[in-house]
């Protein structure tokens, strides 16, 4: 029962992806048309994108046909860890400029480790400490990338 519903959900998603790609293709062509197609001798900035948009729509239609005809099996990652990884990257991006490389790295690695289930505190702390020292040595002192260690 469960698996069957799973497969049907995947098929709906497959169809949805093809539809999204199709609408992106159409939208792309419309915007490209606005940029001007030019003449054949001197093609405008919109010509190549217009062609690409049309081709994308065509390809997406072909995918749509396949998606409707064939079932697809999908092995999805559990949603919580995926969400945690996304949050971890966003946290790094928010923290690195105002607070510096070390705090951003610590937060990213903590959230990232949580994503993998049970946290082994000892080894996690050692790895995080090593990463902070390593990154500061390698990127700030080694390659002189414009990060601050702490604070903006």
């Amino acid at each position: 029962m469960g698996t069957e519903r799973h497969i049907r959900g995947a098929q709906y998603a497959d169809i949805a992806i093809a539809l999204v790609l199709f609408s992106i293709g159409v939208g792309f062509s419309v915007v490209a048309y606005g940029h001007g197609l030019g003449s054949l001798r001197r093609i405008g900035p919109g010509a190549m994108p217009f062609l690409i948009g049309c081709m994308l729509s065509l390809c997406a239609l072909a995918c749509l046909v396949n998606a409707v005809r064939k079932k697809i099996e999908v092995e999805v990652s559990p949603p919580l860890p995926v969400a945690l990884i996304i949050v971890a990257v966003i946290a790094w991006a928010l923290l690195v400029e105002p607070f510096g490389l070390v705090p951003a790295t610590i937060v990213l690695m903590l959230i990232g480790t949580f994503a993998y289930g049970k946290v082994h505190w000892m080894s996690t702390l050692i790895v995080i400490a090593a990463m902070c020292v390593g990154c500061v040595a390698l990127f700030i002192y080694g390659f002189r990338l414009p990060f601050t260690i702490f604070g903006g």
Partner: protein, 507 residues
């Protein structure tokens, strides 16, 4: 004589301590990511791109190329020991490599793959050194129409010849072309598809795109596995690795055949090492007097594909450096790296940047020898790498990914772009939309547009110009054949015929 002088000069460049060091760093990183399932050479190269901005272009290329071919060596290790391909290329090696492990011959299998990898790689370098200058000279006469068509062929080949659905492959190529159109139009200065976002004026960042698609997407999909596969690391010792004389003899001819197939496939634009390995394996099963032994641990079944994939990654540099048309996505990123250094590969590359070309080609030899040393005596270390739990490995990777993308142009915007591409790439890969063709389309898009415009301008607006140029006509014809072959024309025709027959019956 000129060739000899060039080669000597190349070795002179390649054996400077600085270059050897970075060659070593490159092949070591390559072996590392090759061994680890899920981490590919592309993610590693994308991660190292920011570092190479601080290096000479020659040194940068030596290191990045080292990651590429080093990964081919490493990728067979996990295939043989765990039945999990380290990279997509090594999937074929699982077929006969893992049965050998089950028979207790893991060491021999690892030794044979390393030796045939070395043979395949080094022989292909001879081809690179011999052929690239000739092709370059020939390509000097290429017109814009010819360039457009050869790139078209590359894209079509990449999407239709890869393993998986050709329709989805083509969709991704076109999507990549579309992404490459975002940003400032070179001819008119118009902002295209930026939606008023100033960060997009320079276009989508290649590094954000490739790290997103291959690094982040890989991490996101790492949760779906059945947990980490741990392995008794002590199980492979040097003593167990020595093959018998009969086993060596069995491996020789397949190695040579794999080398030939790999070299040819690699030199074709758009066809990568995965295809080379696959074709070499199929060829072996066809030639063999005893096809039944394949899949049960046949030496031929690992020697041929390993020789083929290593040969193909070397010859992939031929179209890249002579035409500026990458033979593989990984090489496409290498082109991106060269462009960041202000060098555009093309027919005049070997003439204008002789030091880079010959230094790089010579470094391939050195890299292959280093890999031999890394892979035979030190195999135990790489095997132990397989035991690093993902909860430690992936957060570390995530940090490197963020730092790498940010540091390219100190842009938080790029980090968010990477995240978006990562999520999109993850969803698309779930539904078997292959990511490599997208990246290839992204790299080739601007070049194709440039040549399309120039060709039409020179051809006075006549689209027939693409067929009037004989070289271009050949490429267009080949592309058309590939597209038609991948369409389910045969099946549709049969159905139509059946319907017609039925209609006749009713009448």
């Amino acid at each position: 004589m000129d060739l000899l002088n060039n080669i000597i000069a190349g070795f002179d460049t390649a054996i400077s301590p600085h270059n050897i060091l970075f060659c070593f760093v490159g092949v070591t990183i390559g072996t590392f990511v090759g061994v680890l399932p899920g981490l590919g050479p592309l993610a590693a190269i994308a991660l190292c791109l920011p570092i190479t901005f601080y290096l000479e272009p020659t040194t940068a290329m030596i290191m990045l190329a080292g990651i590429f071919y080093g990964a081919q060596y490493g990728s067979s290790t996990a295939s043989i020991l765990l039945n999990i391909p380290g990279t997509a290329t090594a999937a074929v090696t699982c077929l006969d490599g893992y049965p050998m492990t089950q028979k207790g011959q893991a060491g021999v299998a690892l030794m044979i793959t390393t030796l045939s990898s070395f043979a395949g790689g080094t022989m292909a370098i001879v081809l690179v050194m011999g052929l690239a200058p000739v092709i370059s000279a020939f390509a000097m006469n290429f017109s814009s129409a010819d360039y457009f068509s050869v790139m078209l062929l590359g894209l079509v080949a990449a999407s239709t010849l890869s393993i998986g659905s050709p329709v989805k492959g083509m969709t991704m190529v076109v999507a990549g072309l579309g992404l490459s159109m975002i940003g400032t139009d070179k001819y008119t200065g118009e902002f295209r598809f930026t939606g008023g976002v100033l960060d997009l004026a320079e276009g989508v960042s290649l590094v954000a795109l490739s790290i997103g698609l291959f690094g982040v997407a890989e991490i996101l999909s790492s949760f779906s596995g059945k947990g980490p596969v741990l392995l008794k690391a002590s199980s492979v010792r040097l003593r167990d690795m020595l093959p018998t004389r009969a086993q060596l003899r069995e491996a020789v001819m397949p190695t040579f055949r794999g080398m030939g197939i790999g070299s040819m496939v690699g030199a074709m634009p758009g066809a990568g090492p995965a295809l080379a390995a696959y074709l070499a394996y199929v060829a072996e099963t066809q030639i063999s007097k005893d096809p039944k032994k394949f899949g049960k641990g046949a030496i031929e079944g690992i020697a041929a594909p390993e020789a083929a994939n290593n040969a193909s990654v070397q010859t992939a540099f031929i179209p890249t450096l002579t035409l500026g048309v990458p033979g593989d996505v990984v090489v496409a990123v290498l082109i991106g790296a060269l462009m960041i250094h202000g060098i555009t590969p093309g027919p005049d590359f070997i003439a204008n940047h002789a030091d880079i070309f010959w230094g790089l080609a010579a470094s391939f030899w050195i890299g292959n020898i280093l890999l031999l040393v890394l892979n035979i005596p030190l195999i135990g270390i790489w095997v132990r790498m397989l035991a690093i739990p993902p909860r430690i490995l992936y957060p570390i990777m995530l940090v490197f990914v963020c730092i790498g993308v940010y540091s390219i142009r100190n842009s938080i915007f790029d980090v968010y772009m990477m995240l978006i591409f990562g999520v999109v790439g993850y969803v698309l890969s779930l539904f078997r939309y292959p990511a490599p063709p997208l990246l290839l389309g992204f790299v080739l898009g601007p070049l194709m547009e440039q040549h399309l415009r120039r060709a039409l301008l020179l051809g006075r607006g006549d689209p027939m110009t693409f067929i009037d140029h004989p070289i271009s006509a050949v490429f267009i014809a080949l592309s058309a054949v590939l597209v038609l072959r991948s369409l389910p024309v045969g099946a549709v025709l049969q159905k139509l015929r059946a319907m017609q027959a039925r209609r006749v019956d009713i009448e």
